[in-house]
Symmetry: C4
C-alpha cells in the first residue's frame, strides 16, 4: 500500500468518524432533550448534520474528496476522478471511521460502547425513499462539482438537511453510515436485519445514476486539477 | 421538437419533480411527527424547501435556468432570455414533473398514489398573499440575476423559506406547484376548487412585475452568455 | 427633488415595506400557529427575518444601499457615502415604506388595516438591549462593507436572526421599523408610548458608534465605486 | 505594551464580549420563552451562536484574527501566525471581554450583574466531549484557513451550531468562554468547580491537535499576507 492510499484512507476515516459523531450524537441529544417530540428531534438532527457536513467537506475535500460515502467513492472512480485501486481501501476506511465515530459518541454520552440497534426501518416504501435520497445526493455532487468545493459543500449540506425530512427514510444515502448506524441503539440507529435493504437501495440508486449519466452525459468533464 | 427543447423539458421536469418531493414529502413528515404542532411542521416544511431549492437551482440552472415555475419561465421569455417557443413545452414539463414528484412522494410515504386535496385555501386575503409572494419571488430572481447562479440560488432559497411564513398563503407562488399540490391530500395540499384563485393571483403578480419592470426598467440587461 | 433622490426613495420605500411584511407577517403566522409557545414563535420570526433580509439587501443594495433603516442612512452620510441632502428623503421613504408594509400584511392576514399595538416594551434593561442591538448592527455593516454586498447581506441577515434572541428587546435596532411596529397589535408590535424610548436608544447607539469610529478610525476608507 | 498589541487586545476583548452576549443572552431568552422545552432552548441557543459568530469573525478577523478563544490564539502562535509575545495579552483580553459580555447581558435581561453558576457539568464523558469539540473546532479553523475569512467564518459558525448538539457537553471548546460562563447562573452557565475540568480537556485537545499537525503536517503553509 503506497503512501497516497494511506493518506486517502486516513482522511476518509477521520471525516467519516466525525460525520457519525454529528449524526449519532445529535440524535442522542435530540432524543434526550426533546421530551418525545420527534419533529423537534429530527429538526435538530437534520440541521446539525448539515452544519457538520459543511466544515467536514471543506476540511477534507482537498485531501481525499471528502466522500465519507462508498457510493460517492465508486461514482468518483466511474467518472475517472479516482483510480479504481483506491476504491476498496477508501471504502474500508469509511466503514472503519463510521464505527469509530459511533463508539466515540457513545463514550461522550456515557452509553455502553458496543450496542446494536433495534430500530426497524424496512419495506418497499423506505427502499424507494433511499433510492430517491441517494439519487439526489449523487446528482447534487455531480452537478455541483464545477462550482468548486465551497459551493458543493454548501449544496450537499443543504441537500442532506432537507432530505432527512422529504424522504421517508430520513435519507441514509450512504452504505458506510448505514453500517455504522447498526451499532447504536439510539435515535439514528437501524436494525442489523434492515441494513442490507437500505444498502441495496443505495447501490441501485448508484447504478441508476451511472446509467443515466452515461446515457445523457449530464456529468461534468474531468477537470484538469 | 428539436433537441434543445427536449433538454430544457427534461431538465425542468426533473427539477420540478424533485422540488415537489421536497415540498410535499417534508410536509407529510412534518405532519406525522409534529403531533399537531403546526408551527413546528411549517418551520420544518419551510427550512426543508429552502434546503432543497439551493442544490436544485445550482444543479439545473446551467441546463434550463432551473425555473421550475411557469411565471418564471414566462418572465424569462418576456426579458428575452428564452425564446417564446420554449415557454409552452417548458411549462408542460414543469406541470408533468410536479405530478411525478407528488406521486413518487406518495410511494415513499406509503400513501395512495392518486389523491385529491381537501385543504381549503381561498379568499381575497390569500389571493393578496399570493400576489405578494409571487412579486417577491420574481423580484428576487430578476434583481439577483446579475450576482450569478450561486447567489441567486441562495437568495431564492432564503426568500421561499421566509415567504412560507410571512405570506398568509404559505407562498405557493408557482402555478405548476399549485397544480401538483391539488393531487395530495396532505399538509401541502390545496383543494382543486381553490387552485384557480391562487394561479390567477400568481399570474396577476407576473403582469404587475412585467408592467413595473417596463415602466422603470429595473430589470437587468440581457447577458451575453 | 431630482431624479436620483426619487430613485433612492422608491428603493428604500419598497425594501422597507417588504421588510415589515416579513417581520410582522411572520410574527402573525407564528403567533397563530405556535399554540402559545413563544420560543417557537420567536424562532420562526427570527429565522424568517434573516431569510428576508438576505434577498432584500442583494436586491436593493445596488440601487440605494438597502439601508431600510434611518440610523444606517445617517451613518452612511456621516461616512461620506451619501450626501446629507439625501438623508431626510430616504428616512421619510423608509418610514412610509414601513407603514405600507404593515398595512399590506394586515390585508394578507385578514386583520383590520389600522391598529395600534398594546405590547409593552419599556424600561432601562430594554433600552440597554436596543443600544447593544444597534451597535452590533452598525458594527456589522461598517466592518463587513469591504467584503462586498453578498457577504454584508449574509452577515446582516445572520446578525439580526441572532439578535432577536440575544438582546432582551428582540432587536428592533431601527427607528423606521420601530415606528411601523407601533401600527400592528400583533406579535411584533410595540406600544406607541414605548417607541420613543427605543428610538432614543437606537440614536444613542448611532452616536456611540460614530464617536468610536472617529476615535479609532475603525471604519473603512471610502470606496471608489 | 506597544500599539499593535493594544489593537489586538481591544479587538479580541470586543469580539469576545459580543460572543458572550450571544451565547448567554440567547440562553436566557431561550430558557424564559421555551416553557421548559430544553430541546427548543438548545436549538435557539445553537442557531443564535452560529448566527453571531459569522458576522463577528468577518468583522474582527482582519484586525486580530477574531480568535475569541485562547486555544486558537495559542495554536496561531504555534503555527507562527502570531508572535508568542502577543498570546498572553490576547488571552487576557479574551477573558476580560467574556466577563464584560456576561455582565452586559445580565443588565439587558434585568438580572443581578454578579452571579455564579450552579450548573453541574463534570465527569469523564463530558471531558471527552470537550476534547472532541475542541479538536473539531481547531481542525475546522486550521483546515479552512486557506479558503479565506468568509468561508472560515461560515465553517466555524456551522461547526459550533452543530457541536452544541453532537457533543454531550454542548461544546464550550474555549477556555475564555468557559471562565465567563462561570459567572452566569443561567442556561449557559457552568459551576466554578467544573470549569477546570473543561479547560483541561480543551488544552488537552490543543496539545493533541498540535502533535498531530506536527506529525502529519496537515496544517497549511504560512501565507504571505
Amino acid at each position: 500500500m503506497n503512501k497516497r492510499i494511506t493518506v486517502l484512507m486516513a482522511s476518509e476515516c477521520a471525516a467519516t468518524a466525525f460525520l457519525l459523531i454529528a449524526v449519532v450524537g445529535s440524535g442522542i441529544a435530540a432524543e434526550r432533550l426533546s421530551g418525545g417530540n420527534v419533529a423537534l428531534a429530527l429538526l435538530a438532527n437534520a440541521v446539525v448534520t448539515g452544519c457538520a457536513l459543511f466544515p467536514l467537506i471543506l476540511a477534507f475535500a482537498p485531501i481525499s474528496g471528502a466522500h465519507m460515502n462508498p457510493v460517492v467513492t465508486i461514482a468518483a472512480a466511474a467518472f475517472k476522478r479516482l483510480p479504481w485501486a483506491a476504491v476498496a481501501p477508501m471504502v474500508a476506511a469509511q466503514v472503519a471511521g463510521g464505527l469509530i465515530g459511533v463508539w466515540i459518541t457513545h463514550v461522550m454520552f456515557d452509553l455502553p460502547v458496543v450496542q446494536f440497534s433495534q430500530h426497524i426501518r424496512t419495506g418497499p416504501a423506505l427502499w424507494c425513499a433511499e433510492i430517491v435520497a441517494t439519487v439526489g445526493l449523487l446528482g447534487t455532487i455531480l452537478r455541483c462539482d464545477s462550482y468548486g468545493v465551497p459551493l458543493t459543500a454548501g449544496a450537499v449540506a443543504a441537500y442532506i438537511t432537507g432530505a432527512y425530512w422529504f424522504t421517508a427514510s430520513t435519507s441514509f444515502a450512504n452504505p458506510a453510515v448505514t453500517i455504522a448506524r447498526i451499532l447504536t441503539d439510539t435515535f439514528a440507529g437501524i436494525r442489523p436485519l434492515d441494513a442490507p435493504g437500505f444498502i441495496g437501495a443505495q447501490l441501485a440508486a448508484l447504478a441508476l445514476v451511472l446509467a443515466v449519466a452515461k446515457a445523457v452525459r449530464f456529468t461534468l468533464p474531468a477537470q484538469s486539477k
